[in-house]
Amino acid sequence: MKFERFGLGILKGLALTLKHLFRRPITTQYPEERLTVSRRIRGNELIWSEEKCTGCATCAKSCPQGAIEIVTSISEDNRYIVEKFEVDFGYCIFCGFCVEACPYEALFLGYDYERSKYRRQDLVGAKEDLLVSDQKQASGYGHPEVETTLPRQTLLVERDKVRK
């Protein structure tokens, strides 16, 4: 005689849900809590290195949207000076072609995934907005040599670190 069919099944179910009552909720409360993203993430943020850039404009040519505007002048020792490097993130589709196309490894994608702005002109990123800083670190996307130096990571929440 299987007692599952005489009410025991229901009791088992009730015991299971009661156990769930005392579990920690799996919800991530987004603005307060964030997932620690993988450092290989293809975030929608572009990082530009002033030292490595030669002003060749390969990135601008490879951009399917034409979102990169680059203006150069020639210096006295016959090198390009990048006077203007502007990316309109309103047009950018974050395809990463520019990162892959750059022959001097001057472009990287970052981790950030929060790009919403209140005004359209805020979406345009000038040279100064694209530099590496403490908040903006290059991810491993498109750069295998960067990727090998990064620690192994997953998308799981490290709650103790994240919770404020």
Partner: protein, 373 residues
């Protein structure tokens, strides 16, 4: 106020009851109308918040936690939202019936609380037929639901209302029979006397009766697993599809007030009402009501909805015969074993309940689907 002295309630008397507090016919009436209204509305707000939080935790979520600390203002925000919504009446609906339905559905639920004792003597009307009054009055809200289904001129509403009628009327029979078991032991229909008779809570004398009453009550108030009437995935929202604004608010209020009423009735009939050690009686009553509500939410979060044919089959083939047998056995015990000490009878009844449930599960089969041997 006399109780039949049997083995079940030997030594109980109403000597400990306070006098007719707070005194004076009209003053008593006015004070208790206000108390009941405040109690129902406040507890419904707490229930809505508690249910959403609890369901969230049962599903390993958090539940509402944005409005106020722990989301405690969420039901108030919901109420404001509902009140501010546009009040739409279907163009081809039956206007008068559509307008009257929420009132007809809600008022009987409020009326139930007139006879529920919050503590000894603290009730609006100490009717000597209290439980009969509850059974009679609670049936009226079905008419309101049917009026809503009819007046909406909407097929989903009508189907939802028809299902509700079939379900509620079917489950009233085992529910009434389960109540008769309690009445037999207590020897009175008055809720005050029934509570006063419970030196030992009747859930121990009537385990089968409690089970039948609880299941039937869940069906009666259309809670999961018997919520076919508003089965969101099949019927949009059942009988209140076309309702919005304050009229919908009244139906929403009715649902939770019914849950509160059922919790209070179960507390009074089976869990010893306001009686308990140490703490004040009102607090004991509230604790028991909230514990019952917790169990109802727990059941909701566990058991999936059953089909309409399963619901009807369960009422007529399973609960009704068991309720009849339970009534018969209780009657025999009251007549033949009045002087026996309570504990042998408690264990006898528990054994009978377990045996009958297993036996009837063997008999109980539903047409169609897979049948196991």
């Amino acid at each position: 106020m006399t109780t039949v002295e049997t083995g079940f309630n030997s030594g109980s008397s109403l000597a400990s009851l306070p006098p007719d507090w707070p005194g004076g016919y009209w003053l008593h009436w006015g004070v208790f109308v206000i108390i009941i209204l405040a109690f129902v509305f406040l507890t419904v707000l707490i229930f809505i918040w508690l249910e959403r939080r609890l369901i969230g935790r049962f599903q390993v979520r958090l539940g509402p936690n944005r409005a106020g600390p722990f989301g405690i203002l969420q039901p108030i925000a919901d109420a404001i939202k509902i009140l501010l919504k546009e009040d739409i009446v279907p163009a081809k609906g039956d206007k008068l019936v559509f307008w009257l339905a929420p009132v007809v559905a809600f008022v009987p639920v409020l009326l139930i609380f007139a006879v529920i004792p919050f503590q000894g003597g603290a009730l609006l009307a100490d009717l000597n037929i209290g439980i009969l009054y509850i059974v009679a009055v609670s049936s009226v809200s079905v008419i309101g639901i049917f009026m809503a289904g009819w007046g909406s001129n909407n097929k989903y509403s009508l189907i939802g209302a028809m299902r509700t009628i079939a379900q509620v009327i079917s489950y009233e029979i085992p529910m009434g029979l389960a109540i008769i078991g309690v009445v037999l032991i207590a020897g009175s229909l008055s809720l005050t006397d029934i509570v006063a008779a419970q030196n030992i809570p009747f859930i121990l004398f009537q385990p089968l009766g409690f089970l039948i009453f609880f299941i039937a009550a869940l069906a009666e108030i259309n809670r999961t697993p018997f919520d076919v009437m508003e089965a969101d995935s099949e019927l949009v929202a059942g009988f209140h599809t076309e309702y919005s604004g304050m009229k919908f608010g009244l139906f929403y209020l009715m649902e939770y007030a019914e849950v509160l009423a059922i919790s209070a009735i179960v507390t009074t009939l089976f869990l010893g009402g306001w009686r308990g050690p140490v703490l004040p009686p009102v607090l004991w009553f509230l604790i028991k009501v909230f514990a019952m509500f917790f169990i109802i939410v727990w059941v909701r979060s566990t058991i999936p909805r059953v089909r309409i044919d399963q619901i009807m089959g369960f009422a007529w083939k399973f609960l009704l015969p068991l309720a009849l047998i339970n009534m018969f056995i209780t009657g025999l015990e009251v007549i033949l074993l009045p002087e026996v000490l309570p504990w042998p009878i408690i264990f006898l009844n528990l054994a009978i309940a377990a045996g009958l449930v297993v036996l009837w599960s063997k008999f109980f089969r539903l047409g169609g689907g897979r049948v196991e041997v």
